[in-house]
């Protein structure tokens, strides 16, 4: 790396993650350059969501370390914005759209401190950016799937972060929302932000992202989309060869790392 370490949005070294002693991710090494739109692609169960969650410390690492802008995640969590999977929350929860977007400001507030007028202004601007301002007072259950996703996106925008981690933001949304999201992601990129997006649709992955991270329990490839999006690489990611690895892992059980 020629850049100073604090300028690398995300550096992952030898990351391994296990669920109930069963390894899900193996020795991931990665340094993400700033200002890119990066797709995380791989088959079901490849550990895409696990990777994102492990970066933020939502899941414990069984080995390795993560640095965000040169520091451990906890020290720089304010510079990271997160969009969880839409099904991860209860949409009948008694909050309205504005309440949810304001949560994006919570990371900047002290314990027990309430959001200020400026925080409300930022939240409103972010809602406007995803064209959801007219819905600010709606209970979140009374929204379509695409609208719910845009609320989550507005919450992440309200975090005003430099690195964004998004877990399947394109799942279950209408075409209009999908194009609105991709426009927004490109705008983030032009403002120098780095965005990692877990994505399951190969056909659109090539158009949407400048860099791809092919993942299947281990890092298969990481690089500019034209270099990585080759039939050979995809074969390695999705094809049969890796089922042997996963079978070995099954039999190993807790024996690794």
């Amino acid at each position: 790396m020629t850049l100073p370490l604090s300028d690398v949005p995300l550096e992952v070294h030898d990351m391994s993650v296990a669920y109930h002693q069963k390894p899900v991710l193996y020795g991931i090494d990665l340094a993400v350059p700033a200002g890119n739109l990066i797709g995380i692609v791989g088959p079901n169960g490849a550990g895409k969501s696990t990777f994102i969650k492990a970066i933020m410390g939502l899941l414990p690492l069984s080995s390795g370390w993560v640095k965000v802008f040169g520091k451990p995640y906890a020290e720089n969590c304010r510079r990271v914005g997160y969009v969880p999977q839409r099904e991860s929350v209860d949409w009948d929860f008694p909050v309205n759209v504005m309440d949810v977007v304001l949560m994006g400001r919570y990371g900047r507030l002290r314990l027990g401190q309430r959001p200020s007028r400026q925080d409300h202004d930022v939240a409103r601007e972010c809602l406007e950016k995803v064209h959801m301002l007219p819905y600010a007072k709606r209970q979140i259950g009374n929204l379509s799937g695409g609208q719910q996703q845009r609320v989550f996106l507005a919450r992440a925008l309200a975090q005003e972060s430099d690195l964004y981690l998004m877990d399947e933001p394109f799942v279950g949304v209408d075409a209009a929302t999908e194009s609105a999201i991709i426009t927004l992601l490109r705008e983030l990129k032009t403002r120098g932000k780095t965005v990692l997006v877990v994505h399951h649709d190969l056909s659109s992955a090539r158009d949407y992202f400048d860099m791809l991270m092919l993942l299947n329990m281990r890092l298969v490839a990481f690089g500019p989309t034209p270099e990585v999006f080759t039939s050979e690489m995809l074969q390695t990611t999705y094809g049969g060869r890796l089922t042997i690895l996963s079978e070995v892992v099954e039999t190993l059980g807790g024996g690794t790392k």
């Binding site: 969650k53 969880p84 008694p94 909050v95 309440d99 949560m103 027990g112 209970q139």
Partner: protein
């Protein structure tokens, strides 16, 4: 919860004989109902003052904690916790063989948290799921507790221990120590919830996101569990082990029916808790020999049913009313549409519509048409001519009729042109859609259809000029 029934049966068999005596709220047994009600409201008995203040305080703390339980889907947790505290109550009593509130509070809290921890441990280390773990812990702790309480009752002097009142609650047995404890717990709960409202909100809604922004969700979960244990334990004397979870869940569930904001839900839940606490204390005082816990729970259930029936948005009555008024509106609009068709048949030469023609067009008796016309008239949509045999549009009625016909024909056109429906499939669909198309959608449709003038059957689509013309006489001739 199935696991509770055997424990309950056992409990009933052991305790019910003594219960009829023990559950009396006051020793004054010879006064009449009205006199007791007066005594209640004038707060003459000091024991009554403690009972009432205690019930109100427990209403607040249970209401607040209950709201978080309901939105975090932990309602069963309160059931398990409240049953798990019983052995702790008995051990607290055995500490120095008196009903010392502090000893019992400590014993019960420890037992409750032990139970909660055990649930967590079973869930994390075995393949048992949370509901099975809850059921198991609830029943076994409760069984131990019932055995211990019965043993204490059988000790010399043990039948005066008052421990039996922990089963179904006896607000009149609250002493100054109990009320101080309730006051402390309630103040603690209110202060912590107010101070960390933001943190409790985000960790309840989206714990992963909370952690990602550096809010320790796990810590707040445990804080909530400890506060919950405090609320349960301090309420035991008044509500009883068996039903205290209902005082947590029911006021909160009622509040959930009435609001879409957590803050308001907390306020409503506390208000409902206070109300049901006070009402339970009142009836327990007025109706002799009645335990407080069940009365409070019945009062809470009444509040819940009221919210279920009368809630402005999710209430059964308001939903029924909205449905009813919508069908009535659709009925009126259908009649306007038929009037329009009758005039259209005549080429809009006249303005009056004979009711006979309407009855014929709708294949209805003329009397039915008259009834519906009166409804239209009361809504200012038509006037009825002197002999009662013909109707004339008011400008409002004409406008609405044009809109409905326009919506119908636009939708038919849209379905046949843009969605490739067959011509004979579109009419029924349009009959439904015409009543709910908003003006914005109509503008979109018109644009999409290049401002077409005729529907797929060749009939003229009313335009803006017709709608605002005030009446059929000024409509352009159908060409």
């Amino acid at each position: 919860m199935k696991a509770r029934h055997p424990a309950l049966l056992l409990l009933a068999a052991i305790l019910l004989p003594q219960f009829a005596y023990a559950a009396r709220i006051s020793e004054l047994t010879e006064t009449g109902l009205a006199e007791r009600a007066v005594r209640f409201f004038t707060l003459q008995d000091p024991s009554l003052r403690f009972a009432l203040v205690g019930s109100i305080l427990l209403g607040i703390s249970c209401g607040l904690m209950g709201a978080f339980l309901v939105v975090r889907k932990l309602a069963l947790m309160s059931d398990a916790l409240s049953h798990a505290v019983l052995p702790g109550v008995a051990l607290g009593f055995l500490w120095n063989m008196t009903k010392d509130p502090v000893a019992i509070f400590i014993g019960a809290t420890v037992a409750g948290l032990l139970g909660a921890g055990l649930v967590q441990a079973i869930r994390n280390t075995t393949r048992q799921k949370e509901d099975a773990a809850l059921g198991f812990v609830l029943a076994s702790f409760f069984a131990v507790g019932v055995c211990l309480v019965t043993m204490i009752q059988n000790l010399p002097g043990g039948n005066k221990s008052g421990l039996d009142k922990f089963m179904f609650g006896q607000a009149a047995a609250l002493g100054p120590g109990d009320v101080m404890l309730l006051g402390g717990v309630t103040i603690l709960a209110v202060v912590i919830v107010l101070a960390f409202y933001k943190e409790f909100l985000v960790t309840s809604f989206d714990a992963a996101f909370a952690i990602s922004v550096g809010i320790p969700a796990r810590v707040f979960h445990y804080v909530l569990m400890v506060l919950l244990a405090f609320a349960i334990v301090s309420s035991l004397q008044a509500v009883g082990v068996v039903l205290v979870s209902a005082m947590l869940v029911i006021p909160a569930a009622a509040a959930y029916l009435l609001t879409d904001r957590l803050g308001m839900m907390l306020v409503l839940s506390a208000i409902f808790g206070v109300t049901t606490g006070a009402v339970g204390a009142f009836f327990s005082y007025v109706g002799r020999n009645l335990p407080t816990g069940p009365l409070m729970v019945l009062a809470a259930t009444a509040v819940f049913l009221a919210a279920l029936l009368l809630g402005p948005r999710h209430g059964v009555l308001s939903r029924w009313w909205r449905h009813r008024s919508r069908s009535a509106r659709i009925g009126r609009e259908n009649m306007l549409k038929v009037m329009y068709h009758v005039l259209e048949e005549e080429g809009f030469r006249g303005e009056t519509v004979p009711l006979r023609d309407l009855a014929e067009a709708r294949r209805e008796a003329i009397e039915d048409v008259q009834v519906e016309m009166r409804s239209l008239r009361s809504h200012g949509l038509v006037t009825i001519s002197g002999d009662g045999q013909a109707a004339v549009f008011t400008p409002d009625g004409w406008k609405r009729a044009c809109e409905i016909v326009r919506n119908h024909r636009l939708w038919e056109l849209y379905l046949t042109h843009a969605a490739n429906y067959a011509l004979d499939h579109v009419h029924e669909d349009a009959d439904k859609i015409e009543h709910i198309l908003g003006e914005d959608t109509v503008r979109l449709l018109e644009k999409r259809l290049n401002y077409a003038h005729r529907d797929p059957h060749g009939k003229l689509i009313p335009g803006l000029a017709d709608i605002h013309s005030g009446g059929p006489a000024r409509i352009h001739p159908a060409t």
